[in-house]
Assembly symmetry: C2
Homo-oligomer: 221 residues x 2
């Protein structure tokens, strides 16, 4: 038995199966045996055990893929329904500021855009949902990497840090005291000015507070 990564060999093998399937390619049992390096009986047994929990799924074409329950579990990262309760406040933020707004969560040492509402103006920043951005650039990165100065002030701003001509302001969304997301407004420097915080911090922080209030209501239900 090769050395265990985590100290629990069954978990190591199970996660190896999930990680192989995470490239999106659906595979039959033989392909999975080849790609995971597991003996066929072991792979078979673990696949069906994972399926019992909804983490894998065997399609009608005898090919395996990741299961829906995985998405359901992951959907609760940042708390259940974060995306659902954040949508309204983000739309109002766009109406108030005229600029695009996004919601980011930290994930694997980077940040991921989970909601994007674009400015109606023809010159606007576009960040697609699902976009993965660094933590070391941009105002949302300052928030999600826990930079003390930004958290103390309650918001962060950046000017042309991640992209030329773009400025942004972000504020933390907290749940149980921990930062679970960052609300962000971004636009061209020509409109935001080189002190975007002065212009937008108050409404960005207010949007973050509205999301926190909605999360609290959801939690106490």
């Amino acid at each position: 038995m090769e050395r265990s990564v985590s100290g629990v060999a069954v978990l190591d093998k199970s996660v190896r199966i999930l990680e192989v399937l995470a490239d999106g390619r659906r595979r039959n049992l033989a392909e999975l045996v080849a790609d995971t390096g597991l003996p066929r009986a072991t792979c078979h047994r673990l696949l069906h055990a994972l399926q019992a929990h909804g983490l894998t799924h065997l399609g009608g074409d005898d090919r395996w893929e990741l299961g829906d329950r995985l998405g359901e579990l992951a959907g609760s990262i940042g708390g259940p329904g974060l995306a659902a309760v954040a949508s309204g406040p983000l739309h109002r933020l766009v109406e108030e500021t005229g600029e695009s707004a996004q919601l980011y969560v930290a994930r694997g040492g980077q940040r991921v855009c989970v909601i994007a509402v674009e400015s109606p103006q023809s010159l606007r920043t576009i960040v697609p949902v699902g976009a993965v951005l660094p933590l070391d650039r941009g105002s949302a990165g300052q928030i999600l990497s826990g930079r003390p100065a930004a958290l103390r002030r309650g918001w962060a701003e950046s000017v042309e840090e991640r992209e030329k001509g773009v400025a942004s302001v972000s504020a933390p969304v907290r749940r149980d005291g921990a930062v679970v997301a960052a609300v962000s407004v971004s636009g061209p420097v020509e409109r935001t000015s080189r002190q975007p915080g002065r212009r937008y911090a108050a409404v960005v922080v207010a949007a973050a507070s509205a999301i926190e209030a909605a999360l609290e209501t959801a939690t106490t239900r």
Copy 2:
């Protein structure tokens, strides 16, 4: 040892921990022991093993939460980068039709909105990202539930099925022959008419094809 759900007891216990954490409440070890019913040493050992795989995370405040890797794994359901490659075609769809567009994936017998691009018109349908909708109503539900007539025709339409005054058209996004998502355009009946398919089916199907082409390019890299 109580009866195993899946036949692999380690997996059963590990998933039990993840499911307890999926309510979004962060917990210390003692709370997790109480909520999972596992002996403390077992719970401790499995939590750290899950953390080694990124599936759980121990915060600085000694409280456990679901880990980022879970989201990364789940993000590849429907194939890696689905959200990223679909954003562009959906925006163009909104520009062409003037109506709101969404991308849905099937998940746990329902459908979940993973991208939403809203119409610039003041009267528009709003579906927040993360919204969970039924499969038995709406054009996207017809696509994702595999209704033969809809798949044969290549698109589906619905008029006031899910919501009064709203009509929609959807088309399947396929990957390796399987339907992985549905592209949808929706708006008020006053504008879409009671035959929204006649008006929009061609461009919705074209948007779905563009997403499929982008996914194929991503896969062969």
